[in-house]
């Protein structure tokens, strides 16, 4: 009898210790452990974890958004020097060098400002008091994209970096002047990356200002050049882009509070989840992955599916309808600097996105690239035309979702209550984190200061 009593007492003690261990989350990753912890952490128990209770499918979806699921950055096959340290150094210098504009006033960093998550805070990109047609997007983590610009009219980071150099209302330069400037100022770095530089000293063969710009004197000068000489200049120009890309592809998104939450959610660590997110932030996440259907487009670790959608944005007074992707898709196919072009380092097989690009379909009309949402709270205003000044305005648009004209809107009205809208915004604020990049890359190179 005494033996039996001792045995029962021991059993009770073991069970008690086990349950305590499970309740504290030290052991019990399995479903039984989860169930036992649920009893101890019910709202009645005071810990109020209801906000942090997720189904298996929800946990999978939350994990799919986590930075832990972001693969390490793949090489860009079209840019053979994309990961060369000297190319990064050259690109770093060029990114901040306003010598890459005729009046010395504009560099890449004029609009892509490191202390603003590489945006400019303006409605539309604007230099020398002239608005461009679109809002400056961030470059943080953009190296993972298949398409560049809001309309995807470029298919690599290096090809993108070239276009503003010659746009009259951006840098306003020409490729012969750019090539000459870079080869004189950065010859050693350039040659260490790309080999011997061409001799551009003959100004009859290489006019001081020549670029394929219609209706400009530089365009006439460009037309007058021998094809071989144009090729030599294009090669240096492409290499300028490849260097800038080698730099900008190093600017990656950092680990946000959401990512820590996702990690805790994966193992049902309610204590940690409660420490990291308020009930409102968790509710916002629930709406984001659920009723809000936000993950239809804002999916994956960068919160974008990388494709193009029309969301029926209002047209600001005085602005013309913007065709978006229906034009951008045609432009990228024609681009001399695209993945299949002679300045690309990729073999044809590697240019999968360009080879299977969608060129037809009503859904391309007025469609723009889905922006990633990491650091979204830090990069107002919003949309390709900067039409919304803050996240409240963005959520109001999604709540009403007016039909698009022309084209069709991919949105359905969310009709969220004020509390739900506030929760959604609270969640989006958890996606902020300083960029993940060597600190010296986040400021002007010391040699330029």
């Amino acid at each position: 009898m005494r033996r039996l009593l001792v045995a029962v007492a021991t059993l009770a003690l073991i069970l008690l210790v086990s349950v305590v261990l499970i309740a504290t989350g030290l052991v019990g990753g399995g479903s039984v452990g989860v169930a036992i912890r649920g009893v101890f952490e019910s709202p009645a128990g005071g810990a109020a974890p209801a906000a942090h209770r997720w189904t298996g499918a929800e946990r999978g979806l939350i994990a799919s958004l986590s930075i832990d699921r972001l693969p390490s950055l793949p090489p860009d096959p079209s840019n053979a020097v994309g990961d060369y340290p000297d190319a990064v150094a050259l690109g770093h210098a060029l990114f901040f060098d306003s010598g890459l504009s005729p009046d010395g006033s504009v560099s890449c960093s004029t609009c892509h400002q490191p202390d603003r998550y590489f945006t400019d805070g303006k409605v539309l990109a604007n230099v020398r008091d002239m608005d461009t047609p679109r809002h400056t997007p961030t470059i943080v983590g953009i190296a993972y994209s298949d398409w560049y610009y809001w309309d995807g009219r470029k298919d690599s980071q290096w090809a993108q970096a070239l276009a503003p150099q010659e746009a009259p209302i951006e840098h306003g330069g020409t490729r012969t002047a750019h090539a000459r400037y870079v080869l004189s100022k950065y010859r050693r770095l350039y040659e260490s990356v790309f080999g011997p530089a061409p001799d551009l000293s003959d100004t009859t063969r290489f006019p001081p200002e020549a670029a394929p710009l219609e209706g400009e004197t530089s365009g006439t000068a460009w037309e007058g050049m021998a094809e071989e000489d144009r090729g030599a200049v294009n090669r240096v120009f492409a290499n300028i882009g490849k260097s800038i890309a080698a730099y900008s592809r190093r600017i990656l998104p950092g680990r946000s509070r959401f990512d820590d939450y996702a990690k805790a959610a994966l193992v049902n660590d309610w204590t940690r989840m409660s420490e990291l997110f308020s009930a409102e932030e968790a509710e916002g996440l629930r709406l984001f992955i659920g009723e809000g259907q936000c993950t239809d487009c804002h999916n994956g670790p960068l919160f974008t599916n990388g494709t193009f959608h029309n969301i029926g944005l209002p047209l600001p007074e005085g602005s013309k309808f913007d065709q978006g992707r229906s034009q951008g898709s045609l432009q990228v196919v024609e681009d001399v600097f695209n993945c299949l072009g002679e300045f690309s380092d990729a073999n044809q097989e590697a240019c999968v996105e360009l080879r299977f690009i969608k060129l037809e379909g009503e859904e391309l009309v007025g469609a723009f690239k889905v922006p990633g949402l990491r650091n979204v709270a830090e990069t107002a205003p919003y949309m390709h035309n900067g039409v919304f000044p803050d996240l409240e305005a963005v959520i109001r648009h999604y709540n009403h979702a007016p039909p698009a004209f022309p084209g069709h809107s991919d949105l359905v009205p969310l009709a969220f209550t004020e509390a739900q809208s506030a929760a959604l915004k609270a969640f989006m604020l958890t996606l902020s984190a300083p960029p993940d990049a060597p600190p010296d890359l986040l400021r002007q190179p010391e040699s330029q200061e």
Binding site: R3, L4, V6, A7, V8, T10, L11, I14, L15, S18, L21, I22, G25, L26, V27, G28, G29, G30, S31, V32, G33, I36, T55, G56, A57, R59, G60, L61, A63, S64, L65, D68, R69, K263, L266, V267, D269, T295, D296, C297, N299, G300, N305, G306, T307, F308, V352, E353, R355, F356, I357, K358, L359, E360, G361, E363, H408, D410
Partner: protein
């Protein structure tokens, strides 16, 4: 004494059976299970490469199967499929012309890419390249197959979840 040891052993075994420790690998998400015991999908939308069942075309001219070369199929990755076409009696159709359509009818949009058959792999097999899905949900893939002066279509419906 022996009963006590036996009881202790039994109790510990029982408790541990239900409560595997939370390990580092689980915290990283490997080998996690969902509530229904299925492996946890952390892709944001996926399905097994061979999810589609062989189907007859609408007028019964051909039997068609479609298997992804990416397994599992996940969102946001452009990839290729292998199509297999045979006649109603099971003879491989090696000279078919195949055109592709599809998308998400519920969302009123097509594929984000323009997939097409790029190679006749012989024996009734065809390489379909440029497939891409940009969100979870129900998708359709419609193939119009022409051979020997006759055409027929088949539509596969499947869900990435």
């Amino acid at each position: 004494m022996r009963i006590r040891i036996l009881t202790c052993f039994l109790a510990v075994t029982l408790v541990l059976a239900g409560c595997n420790p939370i390990t580092r690998s689980e915290a990283d998400g490997d080998g996690m299970e969902m509530d229904d015991g299925m492996p946890m999908d952390m892709s944001g939308g996926s399905m097994a490469a061979d999810s589609l069942e062989t189907q007859e075309t609408e007028n019964g001219l051909f039997r068609v199967s479609a298997v992804s070369q990416l397994d599992p199929v996940v969102i946001n990755e452009t990839h290729a499929w292998t199509l297999h076409v045979e006649s109603a009696d099971g003879t491989p159709v090696a000279d078919a012309t195949i055109t592709i359509d599809g998308g998400m009818p519920e969302h009123n949009h097509g594929f984000p890419t323009a997939p097409r058959v790029t190679e006749n792999l012989s024996g009734g097999d065809y390489l379909l390249e440029g497939m891409r899905f940009n969100m979870g949900g129900v998708w359709v893939l419609t193939l119009e197959i022409s051979s020997g002066g006759q055409s027929d279509t088949v539509t596969f419906e499947f869900e990435l979840k």
